[in-house]
Symmetry: C2
Subunit: 306 residues, 2 copies
């Protein structure tokens, strides 16, 4: 019997999504649960395994028909050895050999990687990045990170921590950043920083409201999103000059305001980056939305040759 199914898991600080996919990366079904319901590492691992088993049982799929389990995790991961170093937003995880643990508990071969890397892989193989060769996929949120595809392959760096584009400097003496440095991109365009700035002049509760105001033509709201685009453009000018990518894909919650952001980003890159690098580097919005994590995790197992 062929191995026709893949389990793709996106384990986040808030929610954990478990997807059942076919070999062509079509999502057949999914389960979502609150990560925080499970207070310890061991309980969370048990919840993963139980949900995997239930999902397979529900569809009458035998474990022997599953190609493997892929898991995207919110922290630095030694993907070669299957070890999760730590998660900044989930306590209690330290050097956990998660691949081996899940493999032993489920009897299904398991691969793990960083979640942002897997989103980049998903956009590259199935989303906005199809056909790209050298690509960055940024995720704008509380944090600002990127997965890097070079020569058509995920680039992870020497200690699996490449892609921290949120911590590229924009100004030597900029605002204090969560990482301990100053003037990093994230210190200007991380969600909380945008919200803090917006709340000084606008009565809004969250960034969705800021986007709504911008859509209505509110000048202050538009100016705040343009500012985000401008800072993004300054940092990406440096990235374009350094890496000469052919594509930069931008996703994450804030990218919903993309139409107000990306114009300024493109303008700044055109003004500040060098030729010919700035000519070839296209900016595109991510296409896969919330499913990117699950699809990317499944892509650890399948080359998506459908």
């Amino acid at each position: 019997m062929g191995k026709n199914f893949i389990i793709g898991i996106d384990l986040g600080g808030t929610n954990t999504k478990i997807g059942l996919l076919d070999k062509c990366l079509n999502i057949k079904d999914r389960v979502v649960f609150s990560t925080k319901e499970f207070k310890t590492k061991n309980l969370l691992i048990e919840a993963l395994c139980l949900n995997i088993t239930c999902l397979l049982d529900k569809h009458g799929i035998k474990k022997s028909s599953v190609l493997g389990i892929g898991i995207g995790l919110p922290g630095p991961i030694d993907s070669a050895r299957g070890i999760a170093h730590y998660f900044p937003n989930i306590p209690g995880w330290r050097e956990v050999p998660l691949s081996g643990i899940i493999r032993r508990k489920t009897g299904i071969s398991t691969l793990i990687d960083n979640d942002v890397n897997l989103i980049a892989l998903a956009e590259f193989k199935k989303g906005a990045g199809i056909g790209a060769v050298n690509m960055l996929c940024l995720t704008l949120g509380t944090g600002v990170g990127a997965g890097i595809i070079l020569g058509g392959r995920l680039y992870r760096g020497s200690s699996f921590s490449a892609g921290e584009v949120g911590h590229v400097p924009v100004n030597e003496f900029g605002p204090k950043c969560g990482c301990g440095s100053n003037g990093c991109l994230e210190s200007y365009i991380g969600n909380q920083h945008i919200l803090n700035l917006a709340q000084k002049s606008l009565k809004i509760k969250n960034l969705e409201e800021l986007t709504v105001l911008a859509r209505k033509g509110n000048k202050e709201a538009l100016s705040i999103w343009h500012r985000v685009g401008r800072f993004l453009g300054i940092a990406l000018s440096g990235v374009v000059n350094l890496l000469n990518p052919d594509l930069i894909v931008i996703g994450g919650g804030v990218s919903g305001a993309g139409s107000f952001i990306f114009g300024a980003t493109r303008k700044v890159i055109k003004a500040r980056a060098m030729s010919p690098a700035k000519t070839i580097a296209k900016i595109a919005r991510a296409k896969l939305g919330d499913d990117a994590g699950i699809i990317g995790a499944a892509l650890l197992l399948s080359e998506n040759k459908c």
Copy 2:
């Protein structure tokens, strides 16, 4: 008869060096001439071919014993198709299919690449970068550039222009840079900028004199070199966070003042870059000096398996 020799050429805006190397990349002999003596593209190409022939004749080496000719060039190069796009400092070159021209004129197979890329390749295979996996090799001079080795291979980018680390932003509103942007690394630490700054307070003619003063303990000279190190550290913090390399090699004229520069660079990276990336990224001085260009050019032909 075996192909036991390689010709490695480093064609610069000022001097052109032609080296005769054995298969193990040992330099057997070299010829240097002033590039500017030859006023046109065609005269310079004739000079290259003539000097290659003379060098082989001098050593009684037949063309059939030469594995190939490698040439490093001062501009963006389509190394796959053997085309030199243009040279910022040598007029008259525009989309020149140089590999084919030299091959036809000499009867020896020829490969070309950007000079900074080849210096990086040389340091990686034969110099300070032996054993590295993901490495940048910076050249500090009038311009500030880098060759990038990722996963043990030269990374050239989507239009052969990756590595412009001199044009990574340090400040949004910094000094005007030659590239048209503001506050690029090069606008702080390019040779001319260092010299301009130094000449405001010190009576020196060139940067060698600034290094001599620093060696004598002159506080102003030391402070200028520390400033160079600090700006280098700010830009490299971003590079470390983005690319997570295990090694950054620094060469070029200014690196002669390395002992006054690198301490500040390491300190800034330690203060500003993130863990674990900053822990694994070592800073080392280039080892091959003026020969790096010739050796790197020869490495286009040989894998250096000696």
